[in-house]
């Protein structure tokens, strides 16, 4: 890091001193990937493309949103920005240059075939009808699912629960041994939404996207039922006590890594715990964790696919001083040297087909990676994200309100419908 600092300072000095025509700086701001990873990507890309200097700034998600809005509202956006598909991208659509041109330059006219299909599909999530532009290009993909702590399940002499009934028994046992049955920092809206998306997917696969399209109402029984199950998970002691007052990052994560959580909701990105500096004993080589699917909550059998999709995509802003240089950087981070550096940190799964980490530390780590990329990811049909910012927000609020007991599940579902109506 210190080295890179010095290098970038030196680079800056070089730019100002020499200012040769080939030198151009591309600025990137995002919440993801984390800065250590990003620094490795920058180094790799700069070696690959001399003449391009990359200036990156990262924030935690909330601060990033504030920064993005302030910059956008005063015409000060950087060249490229990190985006989530759906709501976030749609909010900034008018500030983004269509990126398909860049993709064609980088990968040819059949560029779409070189990505996982779900990644291509979700890039345009929430676009107005008839708008076929890509306002960003997918970098990382993911599934959302549950994880368990291997030594804890061994100590409990238990296997991952497959139905809600099993989950309840499992939870009772975990509690009696002092473990959190399912560790969640439900103070964060996104993790509440992630769990609800899995519940509603479990109960009525695909229904929520129909409701978003206005084909069915959010007040249908399935949505109410999903809210009810969510509430039950608090009342039945499946989530640890005080869950609503805790943040998922860093609050819940720290407890998970201390080995006191039997299971926890997370996603494919949890693999990156192994790649950080000073990993905990459980995270080292990902030896202590295994992924599993959300239990069947209806008793009628859960669907055999996962929800997931794009984790982070990158958009080129209309502000970009040098579109080609910006495009070069984005492409390199998706499939080039920068992408390899990114994947080597297990930050999440690639959106571009054919990338594999250079080295696996343990067999378990390799097995988990292969399971995600070869088995789970190809089954993903439905998006983790919603297209509408208003519904997304209403969902996060309604889940908190239902969990706190302030409103009933039916009222929660009504909140979604109201938000949907307010937009249309």
């Amino acid at each position: 890091m210190r080295l890179i600092d010095t290098a970038s300072v030196a680079a800056m000095v070089a730019v100002t001193a020499a200012a040769s025509a080939a030198d151009t700086t591309v600025t990137y701001r995002s919440w993801s990937p984390v800065i250590q990873t990003l620094n490795k990507m920058v180094a790799a890309t700069e070696v690959q493309h001399p003449g391009i200097t990359i200036d990156v700034t990262t924030f935690n998600y909330t601060d990033y949103i504030v920064d993005l809005q302030t910059k956008a509202s005063s015409g000060a956006l950087p060249d490229i920005i990190g985006l989530e598909p759906g709501a976030l991208t749609q909010q900034y659509r008018d500030f983004l240059a269509p990126a398909q041109e860049c993709a064609e330059t980088a990968w040819g006219t059949d560029w779409q075939d070189q990505f996982f299909p779900l990644a291509i599909e979700q890039t345009r999530l929430g676009n107005p009808e008839g708008d076929l532009n890509f306002y960003g290009l997918p970098v990382l993909t993911q599934t959302i699912n549950l994880w368990y702590t291997v030594p804890v399940l061994e100590a409990m002499d238990a296997t991952p629960p497959e139905t809600y009934e099993e989950l309840k028994e499992f939870a009772a046992k975990a509690r009696s041994m002092g473990y959190a049955p399912m560790m969640i920092g439900a103070g964060d809206g996104w993790i509440r939404r992630d769990v609800y998306m899995q519940l509603i997917h479990n109960i009525a696969p695909g229904l929520i996207y129909k409701a978003e399209a206005g084909e069915v109402s959010f007040t249908e029984a399935a949505f109410v039922e999903a809210f009810q199950v969510w509430k039950n998970m608090f009342d039945d002691g499946i989530f640890q006590p005080g869950a609503l007052g805790l943040s998922h990052y860093p609050g819940a994560v720290e407890i998970i890594e201390s080995g006191r959580a039997a299971t926890f909701p997370m996603g494919a990105w949890w693999q990156q715990q192994a790649a950080g500096e000073n990993p905990t004993p459980l995270s080292k080589g990902l030896s202590g964790y295994a992924a599993f699917k959300f239990p069947d909550v209806t008793g009628k059998g859960a669907p055999d696919d996962f929800i997931g999709g794009i984790d982070v995509m990158i958009g080129i802003t209309k502000n970009a001083k040098d579109f080609d240089a910006a495009c070069t950087v984005v492409a390199d981070w998706i499939s080039g040297a920068g992408a390899q550096a990114l994947i080597d940190t297990f930050n999440d799964l690639p959106a571009y087909i054919g990338l594999t980490p250079a080295a696996f530390e343990t067999e378990n780590q390799k097995a988990v990676w292969n399971m995600f990329t070869n088995e789970w990811l190809p089954t993903v049909k439905y998006a983790r994200q919603l297209g509408s910012p208003a519904v997304k927000q209403a969902m996060e609020n309604a889940l908190a309100a239902v969990a706190a007991g302030d409103i009933s599940p039916a009222e929660g579902a009504q909140m979604l419908q109201d938000a949907h109506d307010s937009e249309n």
């Binding site: 509202s73 909010q91 640890q240 005080g242 706190a404 007991g405």
Partner: protein
């Protein structure tokens, strides 16, 4: 030629011009700006739509978080100011009476008031967390089960848990002002109280407390300012949750404006906060007037 009066007025104006310039640029213009933006349906990015008083209508008729924020402010002001004054006074008095290591104690109590709210928010989340947190683990090991209440997760309790942290944070500041005030009380007064046969507690309550009226007033004023400005603590510790139970106006404005991108609505909320602040300021200056501040009561 300037007449004498005109010259004086011009000189007076020169004295206030620097302050006014900054005021116009960084306060008055932004205030007008939010007043205008408060009448827009606007995401802060794309062109807004003029909706007149639609935002205000929504706020007053159907916005539960807004009313929760108002309710919480009503809790916040007295529950912060009262305990903070009493505790601050008691500690200041005890320290001044007979405490060795006075300076050390002062520092211990005062430091929370100056450290970053970011630090405070993060640490207190850990203290309150009922799973592995400090209070709950003390509760489990001593049998005091009430300590494992999910303080920040229970919508009925959360606001009080946050207020407690705020008192913890600012008590030292009151203490410091009281210590300063007590320096002004002469030793003869205390000696007289002793000769009258008053106990230490009586001396504190009936002799010293009434002599510190100007400090009380200052603390009330600062407490009300603090209530209206409470932001970082809420933002870091609870983000106004769960389900807006700890919502306060600045945080709600921030969430609406930046996280939900309802900049127009956030501006309308800001206008309400601005008017509240204005009303309270004028009230205070009129009622407390020049007596407020650390100068003596006239």
């Amino acid at each position: 030629m300037w007449s004498k009066q005109a010259f004086q007025e011009r000189e007076g104006l020169i004295f206030i011009v620097p302050a006014l310039l900054l005021f116009f640029a960084f306060i008055l213009y932004p205030a007008f700006y939010i007043f205008y933006a408060g009448m827009l349906d606007w995401d802060g990015l794309n062109p807004g739509r003029f909706v007149f008083f639609e935002n205000y209508k929504r706020m007053f008729t159907s916005d539960r978080p807004f009313w929760l924020a108002m309710r919480n402010s009503l809790y916040w002001a007295p529950l912060t100011i009262g305990p903070q004054m009493v505790l601050g006074f008691a500690i200041a008095f005890l320290l001044e009476m007979r405490m060795p290591f006075k300076t050390l104690f002062r520092m211990i109590f005062y430091v929370p008031a100056i450290i970053s709210p970011v630090v405070i928010g993060i640490v207190w989340q850990r203290i309150y967390n009922p799973f592995g947190g400090l209070l709950s683990d003390i509760g489990f090991s001593t049998g005091m089960n009430f300590l494992s209440t999910p303080f920040l997760a229970d919508t009925d309790i959360a606001i009080f848990a946050v207020i407690a942290v705020n008192v913890w944070q600012w008590m030292g500041f009151s203490m410091l002002l009281y210590i300063a005030g007590m320096q002004g009380i002469s030793a003869e007064v205390l000696e007289a109280a002793r000769l009258e046969g008053l106990t230490v507690r009586q001396t504190a309550m009936y002799v010293v407390w009434p002599m510190l009226k100007h400090v009380h007033l200052t603390l009330v004023l600062l407490g009300i300012i603090g209530t209206l400005q409470t932001f970082p603590l809420i933002f870091i510790m609870t983000s106004g949750g769960p389900n807006h139970a700890t919502e306060m106006l600045p945080n709600y404005i921030f969430q609406q404006g930046f996280i939900l991108q309802n900049m127009g609505y956030a501006s309308a909320l800001s206008v309400v906060l601005l008017l509240l602040a204005l009303g309270l300021s004028v009230f205070q200056v009129n009622v407390l007037g020049a007596r407020f501040a650390l100068g003596k009561v006239q």
